[in-house]
Subunit: 357 residues, 2 copies
């Protein structure tokens, strides 16, 4: 795929959650159709897509049908089974590329990659056995945090070590999964950069946002982040380095810890990112359209921002606040069309805007 | 329907063109599903809707199914057959109401209504026969313009009279349709106001835009309009008067001529309006979400504007400019997903933004 995808083409999206939903809306703005591949029925993305192919990721017939029906494939989550990717890549271009997925699917591979390209990460060591665990704790110490190498998100698959004595319990909490022990980072705040890279190598980043978490889930992202202009520039340069090193095409989220000795990369996500939702009401081209533009081989927006924004996630019972929020003239609402407002479930988000400071 | 429609409800939209498409996207932001009733296949709105009920407006079974499946009904065009409305109104609330449709479906009724509520309109007279035509020309004179009472849009169903001698030719051009002769208005420019009224009577208007037409089709809308602050206020007050007089719920477009003796109402449209597309990139809540909010019984956005905008329609071969336009950092693209870029066909629009002056 070397030419820009013509309008009217169909973009295949693996995953039918809220990210797929907002990607589908962005694709429609550029005249594209979308086909969502998602095992679940009545999924958020299916409400605004042309097609919803409801099948599991090991359904080879469905994957073949999907790969043949679409003009390019992208995804809203990084844990796509390798077997599904093998089959799809033979049929159709997948963007971002396989390397980005391989790197970000595994915390150990990701940390090694980031270190290899000269970025700072927290001290880390792979843990496959209780013996490894004791060696890792001896080297990294405590406080520290043990995380499964794969599949964890929003605080799941993690165990904190307050002292070296917690080593055995933390290891047991992994239930036999391969893990990585990460040293404690003394950070003043977490920021993230949403960067994008086009098929021709053009790179554009949005302003870094400052993230606050609650119960392991992103609570708010505030733009601009309360860090120096120099640090903001550093953050953007780090995102650019990651994008180039991966020969990346699409939008990528980079989470960074702000520490007395500079920025430390927490993790990267090869997709549109919750901490980039503020762009929907702060920018002419939001992260979702930016991703679709990249994936379709179109030019990127420049990442410019016209407002200050505080993005806040609406989790579970926050849906009871919709009446008040909808009456606030400075609030942009974004709801995901999920039926049940379960505790801990991301139901939507708001962007509270104010004039650019 | 007195309470706000809960998220997860389904909004029925009559008509599946670009306005239905953008209404459907706006509905998704608020967590609503949409069902599009549209006779044509592969229509723009169906690409981003939950359901597309493809049937004709005289298919009573399909209308019954539609009326029972949705929680409220709205529309993207004013020429809905009365028989279909009769059936639907018995099943489900239709917003905006019947009166707004009755008034705006017929140019003669519309002009009489506007005059009755104290607004200025061009001189007009109904024309049902050649005899009427001669009487109308004797009273109104020329230059003037003869228009069919119903169904005309984008310059269709119209004949210009340069002199009274053109009367018979103009009448013949109506092909027997009931018509109205409108006197020439010497205007310096055309502006339009997109107003909205909520179910509880709350009114909010967007800033007036200045319209330029080409070949009878809207070419650009520029915000702010180059008229005095006093005239802008007059325009908003006129929209408010129309909204209240119709006990209107939803978004309404009001086209106004700017003349030496003040504003003259050209026409009203009981729906989202092409001249309000600039709100997509100029406002936190655009006209499409504003309409959905009103129809769903939600509070309205306040109509605030954060940028200056020039909206330009992309007609037919303008689609050849997409490559250049997509690379312009100040341009927001909105394409409709129509397959054939026929001459005169609205294929999309752009919003060119600049800092608020």
């Amino acid at each position: 795929m070397t030419k820009p995808l013509p309008t009217g083409s169909t973009i295949g999206i693996l995953g039918g959650g809220q990210l797929g939903r907002m990607l589908s809306v962005a694709a429609s703005r550029l005249g594209f159709k979308t086909c969502i591949f998602e095992p679940g029925g009545d999924c958020p993305a299916s409400h605004v897509a042309n097609y919803h192919l409801q099948a599991s990721y090991d359904d080879r017939d469905a994957l073949a049908k999907f790969g043949e029906a679409v003009d390019v494939i992208t995804y809203e989550f990084e844990n796509i089974p390798a077997s599904a990717l093998d089959q799809l890549e033979a049929l159709c271009e997948v963007r971002p590329n396989r390397r980005a997925l391989t790197v970000s699917q595994d915390r150990l591979t990701e940390k090694a990659f980031l270190q290899d390209i000269g970025l700072k990460v927290a001290p880390f060591m792979g843990v496959s056995s209780l013996d490894d665990m004791h060696k890792a704790v001896a080297q990294i110490g405590a406080p520290s945090i043990l995380k499964t190498r794969t599949l964890g998100y929003d605080g799941k698959g993690q165990a904190r070590l307050r002292s070296p004595d917690d080593a055995a319990d933390a290891f047991a909490a992994m239930k036999g999964a391969e893990a990585v022990l990460e040293g404690f980072v003394d950070f003043s705040c977490e920021i993230s950069v949403i960067g994008a890279r086009a098929a021709d190598g053009q790179v554009a980043c949005f302003d870094p946002g400052e993230n606050v978490h609650r119960d392991g889930i992103l609570h708010t992202t505030t733009v601009p982040a309360s860090v120096s202009a120099a640090l903001r520039t550093d953050a953007v340069l780090i995102a650019g380095r990651v994008l180039n090193a991966l020969d990346y095409v699409g939008v990528l989220g980079v989470e960074l810890f702000v520490t007395p000795s500079g920025l430390i990369v927490n993790e990267i996500a090869p997709r549109v990112h919750n901490s980039g939702h503020w762009t929907q009401n702060g920018c002419l081209i939001d992260q979702f359209e930016q991703h679709i533009r990249a994936v379709a081989g179109w030019p990127l927006g420049d990442g410019g921002r016209h407002a200050d924004v505080v993005m806040e996630n609406l989790i579970g019972a926050d849906m009871d606040r919709i009446g008040d929020l909808s009456a606030d003239p400075n609030v942009g609402l974004h709801l995901y069309g999920k039926a049940d407002a379960k505790a801990g479930r991301k139901m939507g988000h708001i962007n509270r805007i104010s004039p650019k400071g």
